[in-house]
Symmetry: D2
Subunit: 496 residues, 4 copies
């Protein structure tokens, strides 16, 4: 069986450590194995990154950008291969994988503009004959730890910008679906990146802990669940690193009575069930304001969900695929059971989806639950499956209070036509990414991605402008030249 190894100093490497199966979630069968790096292997990767750092840091910014331009072209050229790999190991359908990849490529494109983004601040004459300026210099070796749900995109949030800033990188991707991540990282060599600037180690907590404690690693970016994010953040900080750690979410959409209801329903479908709901920006709660809006919404959703198809990535007419593991499938079904037991109404039931030919796949069908209340476990926790829950609120204020009271604050949305409602919502909601009639308000690559409250630990958001600040440190220089130098001297030395 094929073994997915590590990429260290430009070479694919295996080590003598443990192996773990990689499954095809549509069939439930293991197709590959992934090597789980030992401490020594991770330290080799760090050493390679450290060795490559001085030369890369001194490479002119335009040459660093040139690598990103070529990398973008290679990603586009190999898109089909990458999407197939994502499908095989993650299970997402081709159109969804292509969307993921496109978003990732946009982060590379943003890194192509690094020369503009890295500009420092220059002040002439801060005092008599004194100039001051601030530069944004790279940190050294930085690390990324990424989740299974976007094996192409989330790593691309991190290392293109980190590398463009002049850092070198060690990535520890998810061990569930490592192939596309590894394939993409190898393209960088062809794009002209010197060996050692980018390294990938597969692994689990053993590898992660090396990255969190080794003194040569200066910063860590993480995306995953909130409990792990907290661990990563506090451990990295205690070891003198800067860290940004993105965690879980529970994204609510408020549906106002004046909303364009057909549009809202249409938008909610993709936002709730796309990628089987395994997105930290998935819209998993719809808060309808007023019973009339709620009834209309539920009726229209029920109707609109009928043609939704769950199945394997090989059939591009499917709307979404399986969830990532057998255990996760059981967890999602457990949340539906608990909601039902707590008194909510399962309007559309996806607990037994029947995918012909894929009886052992980890499938959950699109599920709609009405009359959910804020005291239910299914409301309080992140389900990370194709489950949309409807909560009813008497007023917009009550709906906003639910959102503000929830521990997560990643994304949210309002459906309305009213300018005042939208403005009040966007100003006062305690959430980092806000949509107005946009159900998945993932910021474009030239803004930055980040939640509030327990959805993100750290000062700076992922990708976009914030990532430049995260991957660099400010150096402020103050300069005054002593007089009586060559300038005056010359006048004295060479009288006419």
């Amino acid at each position: 069986m094929t073994i997915v190894g590590h990429l260290i100093n430009g070479e694919i490497r295996e080590d003598a450590g443990r192996l773990q199966d990689v499954f095809n979630p549509a069939t439930g069968e293991a197709s590959k194995q992934v090597a789980l790096a030992t401490k020594a292997t991770v330290e080799e990767a760090i050493a390679a990154a450290e060795a490559a750092y001085p030369a890369w840091r001194n490479t002119p910014v335009g040459k660093r950008a040139a690598v990103m331009f070529r990398f973008k072209a290679l990603l586009e050229q190999h898109a089909d291969t990458i999407c197939r790999m994502i499908g095989e190991e993650h299970g997402k359908i081709g159109h969804d994988a292509a969307g993921e990849l496109q978003r990732g490529i946009e982060n590379v494109e943003y890194a192509c503009g690094i020369a503009e983004l890295l500009k420092g601040e220059h002040s002439r004459n801060t005092g008599p004959g004194i100039d001051s300026w601030s530069e944004f210099q790279p940190l050294g070796v930085v690390a990324g730890i990424t989740p299974f749900n976007f094996p192409a995109m989330v790593p691309l949030w991190m290392y293109p910008m980190a590398i463009a800033c002049g850092n070198t990188f060690v990535l520890k991707p998810s061990e569930r679906d490592p192939s596309s991540t590894m394939f993409i990282a190898q393209l960088l060599k062809e794009a002209g990146l010197p060996d050692g600037v980018m390294n990938v180690v597969n692994g689990d907590k053993e590898a992660v802990d090396v990255l969190l404690t080794d003194q040569r690693v200066k910063a860590v970016s993480f995306v995953g669940s909130t409990p792990i994010a907290e661990y990563i953040y506090s451990t990295a900080n205690a070891n003198g690193k800067r860290c940004q750690a993105l965690g879980g979410a529970k994204n609510h959409a408020i549906v106002m009575p004046d909303a364009d209801m057909d549009n809202a329903v249409n938008q909610l479908l993709g936002a709730a069930f796309g990628s089987s709901g395994e997105r930290c920006m998935a819209l998993s709660v719809a808060v309808a304001v007023g019973d009339q809006a709620a009834d209309t919404l539920v009726a229209k959703l029920k109707e609109a969900m009928k043609p939704l198809k769950v199945g394997a990535y090989t059939d591009s007419s499917n709307d979404f695929g399986p969830v990532i593991t057998r255990a996760h499938q059981e967890k999602v079904v457990g949340y539906i059971n608990s909601a039902e037991a707590d008194g909510a109404s399962v309007v559309v039931d996806g607990r037994d989806p029947q995918v012909a030919g894929y009886e052992d796949g980890f499938f959950v069908g699109a599920t709609l639950i009405d009359n959910v209340t804020t005291d239910m476990v299914s409301y309080q926790e992140e389900i990370f499956g194709p489950v949309l829950q409807v909560v009813r609120a008497d007023s917009m204020e009550a709906a906003m209070k639910m959102i503000n009271d929830h521990e997560y604050g990643n994304g949210t949305c309002i459906f309305t036509r009213d300018g005042e409602a939208a403005r009040y919502f966007s100003d006062h909601i305690e959430v980092g990414m806000v949509g107005i009639n946009v159900p998945l308000p993932v910021p474009v690559s030239y803004h930055s991605f980040g939640g509030w409250k327990r959805s993100l630990f750290g000062d700076l958001h992922a990708y976009g402008p914030d990532s430049v600040r995260f991957y660099t440190k400010r150096k402020t220089i103050t300069q005054r030249w002593p007089s009586s130098g060559v300038r005056e001297g010359v006048s004295f030395s060479f009288p006419s």
Copy 2:
């Protein structure tokens, strides 16, 4: 004896807790007592700040700036009072206190420009009919914990910008010299700041720990020693707060053979001995490149130090005053002793300074030590006293290696006339604030203050542009309006 209390919700308050003496370090006598806040008192301050937050956050930015304009005027109007208070409790001479205050006022001036600084990023047409923008919204209640050595300036690094950004504030200043800090904070009410937006609690670790753990506090700024900074940073982070914690320093000046030596000596005097060396930007190590430069430097320093006067703040002809406590005086003398014991040469000896009329004051005279080496404790640790040590290096590379190997990376400087040397130094030195022929490269208020390595924990520097990012969080909004609204509707309703 006068008791310095707390400022909570616009009122001066005492509590039932412990009291601690406040000394005049020139006389060695206690002149006041400071109240040390209990947990309940700190919680009251936090509650006041939380209650004041919603209205202050919604106050238009121009009105928040107006408070800062008035605050600046009041600080200038009361400068003499403030400088006297600093002299009485900290011991620094009037010209030095005035310089400190002026630097603090410049931070208030920077906060006057908050409307410009808070501008978000707006993108039209990120998709068809879609707009996206990012705002920088305030955090809520934020806290500051500040050291004895700049009782006016360091608090002014923090709260003017925090408040201008729309936050409310709780300050825990040093209990050694609280009076000027408290006086200044009270001026904000006269400047028009609503009660509760700014609060001050005096205290010690008990008070600090409340600020670090209370869930209502969203962020903590700290300036002090590195061990405490580490504690503050990890505790605040573990409690879900963002934190920036500035610690210790060991600032080196490289003196190149081509330097304007008289100028370098002149600059070093103020940078090493000003404020008795109790500055995190004090220049405490001079690295001379080549023995010839070293010999010249030491000879000229020895001569130039002769007229230096140490004494009480009441005599403005003094160059610097006492150190802060008896214990600290003994610690500084201990470092001089250790250097001597380790084989260094005490060229000018300030261990017994003889200040007539102030025999019980905590004085240390200006001290120059030659032939210091990197293995000495006096080199490795921060002395925080009027002691300048000279180290000799064979080359500029060797001198730079010393600096880069030191655990601290706050400030540094090079004296040279050569453009290439200056540029190589500023590019490659692992220090956050770099001077070229400028021995105290404290950034002006419109750049930001921060060291590297173990001199600062956190991503963002203090004051200046970075402080806007520290005291705000990014919110990104994506907006699309459904069509068939009033615009098309009207066209239908009113055919010509």
Copy 3:
């Protein structure tokens, strides 16, 4: 009779030239005379500005800002005097003059932040060992030519920022109401501005033409009517100067059927009649979409206009005052007559306002005209008086087409509750300053002021961020230091 002279090199000066009466428009009597500068006098002012330039340009930016902080305080201190002077010569009521002055002070406040605004762009390692940066350096002597309608505010749009950028200035204000302008300019000396940095010459076309042609003047800012703006712009450009010239306006408000009609009416009153409509941002045309909206709007406006009071500035209960001259009064009445003759309906008629005790004042009462069409002269030209015309449109598209077809494009506004309508309007309207439910969308001081089409000639808008670019020129520096300098040399000289 008092003569208003010139301010040259810090001294008030008269010259031997012509004099012109300054009227009190409420009484119709001349109260002062203003000196009209000869060519020689203007050249003296330019010479003073040129002489003051080198030292002022080299003054550290913080010291230039300090003058602005003091200037702001002095303006606030002398507000009553300034408002009285405006009332006497322009005629506007105290509350209106105070508003004008406040807006002007906000421009001074923005200039207080010049250190941040002047920051250049710095790039390390644009090539191997090469750094590049761009600075924004001052131009030298720059000039401003300003209109009668805002004698305090419009000059303050210009010279505070020009001076803060390091330029020196010659102002030629309106000869109709020169006293407040002159009084304000004199405060700069008290604020610490060196003599010669700011100069004021009163005068007419003779003075203007010197400013437009003298080679020592590097830039000209102008605000006035469009024909003069065109002349200024082409003449200044032909003489090698940069120029921004702001001209006339015809500002339309679209009133949509879903608008909050009472709010719209209330807003329109102030926007149409405030300052007698003598504002380039006055809202002089309301376009109602649909006859129902139009009928409601006209009925409510008619009712709301009843309590409006026109009168002298001495009575602060008046809503607005006289127009500036007898000739202008006749011109405004002429436009009302022409509208009536062209078939429009004069709903409220202000042609004979009857102001007791001020029978000779230049008053026009608030006038409302319905059924105006785009072919009428009163629609096509700027009236600059207290006249609001209502045009009826079948659809929002038709209303927008009117605005886009008009030669002016200064300000505009839409009244609606609908997010989509507002967004479409703001995106596609060919106007520089757009209000959504804001009838006078004058940008705040930290944005910039400027119209499109024939309302502004030039690339850059007035005040705010654009003014920094207008009053500075970019200099880009590329730097590489030759190796084998002192750095390597030392290593060679001092082997271990």
Copy 4:
């Protein structure tokens, strides 16, 4: 003979107008003819651009950037073809053409980052419930008029950014060497640009005058000689367009006594003779400070010039090629003659270069003239040929005065090792692009290109950040929503 036509609305077009020969300057023979557009043809191009504008303006910014990414790839793919075309018609050697093209491609790369560059400024709560933001919207149809000396690069300074900003474009390139320009423009269609967004008309003054006067053209960018630049600027402005017009140059290098002389000589060779000196950034005057520096410089230059080879583009070992026309060849020789007649010393004489096999080519050899003085015509005017003149100065101040007194202020450079001299020079020299030991200080693509004094007419420089401002206009929107909308209404309508 091949005829080079026009590119209008995506199609190559000829018209019925005049034809002009296109020469190969190495052979002196005409190889093609170029069509000179009639007024009707230019108007067709403008009409095509106007028709394409609304859809292109509304195309999301990411899609506009995508065209630029593909355009960059196509330029790299077709580099050999483009360089050959440049060689055939301009005469420059392959390595030089490749350098030109690379610089042009870097401008396309900068345009790839348009999403970041177009971000507007957003302010929440400028007043109670009021938001304001400024957008940078495209202008409409804009035009470019470009010179013969960089047929690939200079057009690429203009239209990639103009188009990326959302404008449509009409280019009028030089009629001397139109083929590469036309070839490049056609690649845009393959890159995905819609027809009509980019148009090229070949022609002469007849075509230019249409672009300058047609009301549909909103802006004009020009690069050429100063007299034409002045005509373009004043004519465009008088016709209501914004304009930036770059003109001639006389770029001086100051050589200080402490300079690394070998390095300076090496740099001067390329800067003076590269591309036959037909560059607006060519370094045509060396000002040596002190006779010793001058003597050394001249001696070393004379020696270093010996191996320089002039010849045809087909031999890549040549250093530079012919000048553009027979007439220009004669003009350059005339300047050498005049310098000699005025008393200067022709140290190396290139007036009769003898290029075997190319006896009819328009060649001038590398020429060095010493003892030039500021009163000579050859000093005062731009030669635009491979001629380096040496002037001697007593002091750096005297050298700087020469530069500041010259009518042109495009580029300049100083050779020194001294930090103080470099800083004084860069601060006080009246030139827009300054090199410190960099003889051709052409700003990188992410800064902007522009001279001072009579080298540039307009406020904003070419390419880089300034080009975003040139190709867009600011629109400031102020928004307030009326209350009592759907938000409060809902609460009332749906009581629990």
